[in-house]
Symmetry: C2
Amino acid sequence: MNTNNLPSELLENAVNQFAKLPGIGRKTALRLVLHLLNEDIESVKKFSNSFIELKSKVKYCKICHNISDKEICPICSDKSRNSKLICVVENIKDVMSIENTQQYFGVYHVLGGLISPMEGYGPSKLNINPLIEKVKNGEVEEIIFALSATMEGDITNFYIYKKIKEFDIKINTIARGISVGNELEYIDEVTLGRSIINRMPFKAQ
Amino acid sequence: MNTNNLPSELLENAVNQFAKLPGIGRKTALRLVLHLLNEDIESVKKFSNSFIELKSKVKYCKICHNISDKEICPICSDKSRNSKLICVVENIKDVMSIENTQQYFGVYHVLGGLISPMEGYGPSKLNINPLIEKVKNGEVEEIIFALSATMEGDITNFYIYKKIKEFDIKINTIARGISVGNELEYIDEVTLGRSIINRMPFKAQ
């Protein structure tokens, strides 16, 4: 189906707005807009206003910059966690993924994005300075980088590393290698090559 | 990733609203909401208001009930088309699909949905009565049903058929059978069985 000639400008506008979202093409956008059009006006208002309300009222934890309804998020205010062990992540989704592993007992620092020269997204837009302040103030013993294994992730890792390497703290990154359950023949060559170079002691479990 | 424990009610609300849309799960919803959150407030307002504006200002063609910015849509006002040949479709997407074939020169009647007993969606919510009025008033020579080959489509076909069968008009449905390019071994048995029963004269093209 060709979706280029919609018979209404209002419809065209709504479809265009949806199609701006990542992973949503014009066909999907049209399907979603027609679904909304079948709802009553109150439901459409609830749908639409939820995003305006989120954007205008959202708060971030003053310590880790994660999205939070309180000034200090539940993770940062948990006294049983090690506040000198900081895991650096891109966004709230990564916090949730790591929390779900139940293997981490430090705190987080949420950057709010990655440095992306391609998209003109520079370090000044990210929460990098507050992290460096924490390091300078001696509030940190160990940093763990947990950013995506992409060009943007690597650039961001390196940028922060340069700023904090002079301080006497441990700087680690999460292990990269072969995923649990992966068959060797389906692994890409870069990952396989690096996992041979970075081989680690065998532990019988 | 488990998305059940979002650390903010505003975020939770926005994710829930997105996840109500068909084909959007909570993971995708969270991804889309975080994308919106990285936009500035003006963009978020534009996004949100486009749906409210569409819903509150949308107009439908008085003849065929398709979405249209004018009182009478371009198809219905096209004098070169046969207004006594009416193709009955579910929604605007189907109009666009059939228009793209460039094989149809009649007009449409858009129902705005299908009868769905499972979802409590009855005939009174659809534009069925205006179609029956057209038939009663002698404005129709032929009806072509072009609804989905689903239970809902079949029920809707049958409901309308019962209401108009007493009138002296041709009542057809689009041909069902084997799609162009399909290999026989991959076709489901119901379709294959019906296409043998409904075999048609061979035409050398």
